[in-house]
């Protein structure tokens, strides 16, 4: 499989901090997979994402995107934040088209791509609405569409669904998996919900606060499974992950 | 306030202008303090920048006496402030005048047309200027600027204005590169008198006529002294105002300090000056600066000349 991201011996120490938050960390992300990351609060999940996305410069080691070092934020790496960071002064269509506009695409191309994305996230009728009139779930769908508009190589989510209630979250999971299947996308999803990590991840990465150098990667038998078909081992599997986290 | 009703008056508050006048001289010469000490009354002086503020203080009852230009006295009269005019401190001379900048091309009154002329509104200078402009049919041909004296100097120095009607000490620096077109002394000669006067608050006057006489007597002493030997008086006034002798002398200029005897004998306070106030009032009301012209009766009621008449016998 083709490697999109290679994280090599990545160490990140924050300024004024004595101990590194990430310590010689290694990780590959391959095209078409969904990696979910789970770990306790403060273990360094966001730090890892920020480094891959180019917001933070590695103290040592490197992050490669298609073999090239990441030297800063890049439209090829999309990010969706927890509070979706949609721009309230723009309507839904303009939010989704924001990246394309910044990259000087012409109006027609933008319009066309926005229309397609609106269909894909089922928000065609909200095109001209402003963000404040949308529900939490709709906002997340707009944020996802915005991140996809640039057709990035990898889309990363930083606990993007944590603020949604369980039912809305389920809907978003379906949107994510639907897009993944139809568009052959690659996702990197940080979560603190084990069920979510299991449901969405081809691979589940467990991050522990003390020895972050060792990412435990778990192959996930329950990926994308219909919840009616879950067997009695599901709870055991879930518990085994829970125990590794603590 | 300290002078209400039955309570004995223990303090007298005098509103003063910061100029070397009779009040300054009699203060320095201890005439005033000696008199009030002997009456067991404290004297408090309150400085006002103009009669405008002094009038406000008369209304609010914060002062008992106030010295001001006669135009402000007219304002007090027409605003029905409970006060009486009891004294003429000085009849203005060349310590007020219209200065024009040298080299500004203003040679005669007609050259003033189209010029900016500054003066402190509501002052005697303002009135004198307006009278002059009217006489030369310039009233609507110049733009008048209402400025305090310090701002006039600033504007003059910057060259923002080339003419101003104002008074000493402001005139001195301006005369360095300017000259008089007319002074209040000239106006006085043309029978347009302006003067600084003292008003007493009605409530105080009714209750303490003796103190009013007493104070005027002290001021009159300075007037008499001034006419006998100006040097002593000017020196005293200069010391009081923290000025050099020559500064004080030029600030007093040719203003006249009439004694009570002169005021009585020349019928100054009973005829000449009321007539001037009447003209002033009429003019000001034409200018709509006051809402009605005071009648001769109002003016006669306003001027309480009995105190001067008493003193005049001395």
């Amino acid at each position: 499989m083709e490697k999109i991201i290679e994280v090599k011996d990545l160490t990140l120490t924050y300024e004024n901090d004595d101990k590194p938050t990430l310590n010689s960390l290694n990780l590959d992300i391959e095209r078409g997979e969904i990696v979910t990351v789970i770990g306790k609060s403060g273990c360094g999940k966001s730090t890892l994402l920020n480094t891959i996305a180019g917001y933070l410069e590695p103290t040592s080691g490197e992050v490669l995107l298609n073999g090239e070092p990441v030297s800063g934020p890049n439209w090829k790496l999309g990010v969706v934040f927890q509070n979706n960071a949609l721009y309230p002064w723009l309507n839904v269509a303009d939010n989704i088209g924001f990246g394309l506009k910044m990259r000087h695409f012409d109006k027609e191309t933008i319009d066309k791509r926005v229309t397609t994305l609106l269909e894909q996230v089922q928000l065609t009728d909200k095109r001209k609405d402003y963000v404040f009139s949308l529900s939490g779930g709709m906002r997340q769908r707009v944020a996802i569409a915005r991140a996809l508009a640039n057709q990035p190589q990898l889309v990363m989510f930083d606990e993007s669904f944590g603020a949604l209630d369980e039912f809305t979250r389920n809907d978003i999971h379906d949107v994510i998996l639907g897009l993944w299947k139809s568009l052959n996308l690659t996702f990197f999803i940080i979560t603190h919900d084990i069920d979510e990590a299991i449901k969405l991840g081809n691979r589940i990465m467990i991050m522990t606060p003390d020895k972050t150098s060792q990412l435990k990667v778990v192959q996930n038998p329950y990926f994308n499974i219909n919840s009616d078909n879950i067997d009695s081992n599901y709870m055991k599997f879930k518990n085994s992950i829970l125990k590794q986290i603590i | 306030t300290s002078s209400t009703n039955d309570k004995k008056t223990t303090e007298v508050r005098i509103g003063i202008l910061q100029v070397p006048n009779d009040v300054a001289a009699s203060r320095q010469l201890k005439y005033i303090s000696n008199y009030f000490d002997q009456e067991h009354i404290k004297v408090k002086y309150i400085i006002f920048d103009s009669g405008v503020d002094a009038n406000k203080a008369l209304i609010s009852g914060d002062i008992d006496f106030a010295t001001m230009g006669d135009t402000n006295a007219v304002v007090a009269l027409t605003s029905k402030i409970d006060a009486k005019l009891v004294w003429v401190n000085d009849v203005l001379g060349n310590n007020e005048g219209l200065v024009v900048r040298n080299g500004s091309g203003i040679k005669d009154f007609d050259d003033l047309a189209g010029q900016k002329i500054a003066t402190p509104f509501a002052s005697t200078s303002h009135y004198s200027l307006m009278m002059t402009l009217k006489k030369h049919h310039l009233l609507n041909k110049v733009s008048l600027l209402d400025m305090d004296t310090q701002d006039i100097v600033a504007a003059w120095n910057r060259g923002d204005i080339s003419a101003a009607y104002t008074w000493q000490p402001t005139l001195t620096p301006m005369l360095k590169n300017g000259h008089f077109l007319i002074t209040s002394e000239n106006l006085r000669d043309q029978n347009r008198i302006t003067a600084n006067v003292t008003l007493v608050r009605g409530g105080f006057e009714r209750k303490n006529p003796k103190l009013v006489s007493g104070l005027l007597q002290q001021l009159n002493k300075a007037h008499i002294e001034m006419q006998k030997d100006p040097n002593i008086t000017i020196k005293a006034a200069s010391k009081q105002m923290d000025l050099s002798y020559s500064e004080a002398k030029s600030q007093i200029g040719t203003s006249k300090w009439l004694t009570s005897k002169q005021m009585v004998d020349d019928k100054f306070l009973s005829e000449t000056f009321p007539e001037q106030l009447y003209i002033t009032g009429k003019f000001m009301s034409q200018q709509q600066t006051i809402d009605h012209a005071p009648s001769k009766k109002e003016i006669n009621d306003f001027i309480a000349d009995k105190y001067v008449n008493e003193l005049g016998d001395d």
Binding site: Y55, W89, N150 | I59, A118, T289
Partner: protein, 258 residues
Amino acid sequence: MNSKGKKNYWLITIATWLLIFVAWQIATSFRMVPEILLPSPEKVVSTFVKLSEYGYNGIPLWQHFLITMARLLSAVFLAIVTAIPLGLISGRIKIVYSIFDSIIQFIRPIPPLAYYTILILWVGIGETSKVVLLYLAAFAPIYLACISGVNRVKDDYIKSAESLGASSKQVFFHVIFPSALPDIFTGIRTAVGMAYTTVVAAEMVAATYGIGWMIINASKYLKSDVMFVGIIILGITGVVLDQILKYIERKIVFWSGR
């Protein structure tokens, strides 16, 4: 707060004003206070009518009003076009901030009247000094609002824009500026308030028209009726101005607070 039973509270407000008016009427009708301290309502109204018809000092009342507004608004306009760029850049670039902030912090609290004479010495008695005085009063609120606006821009907004391919310049114009707009508007409203408070001071020197000048001039002749008219005009205008600004604010930064 209390969802049970909402009364028509504006009726109380109207009643309050009626009460004030009646008390004023009574106090003056029965000569409980001298005319000069408190002119009667009729007198104030008739003075207003007179001023509107014949003007004050030969100049119609509405011209006094317009010139005052013109001074105010041109000063605020100048403050807006200078303080917003400087404030936004200061909020973003620490060096610029270090250069300007302490100077502005130093000048800000100084009462305008304290330096008015110096200002006149420097720029003269014309319109310039008046507008500059108002400008100085209006500058700091906008500048400070811009800085706090920039500092409050959500980090995620900037990060998102960067990941979507925006350049630094694009981030500044397409993210930082609109993000800070609600704060900027609050700053502008404060600035108008500050300049408005200074309007009378500005017209105290060498003016011959303007509502502020009219009040000052009337006070020299103790015309309390004119002063009352002027004060009431300033009060009403102040409220109306703020409402207009609030309306514009709601239209432009419609998303704010939602």
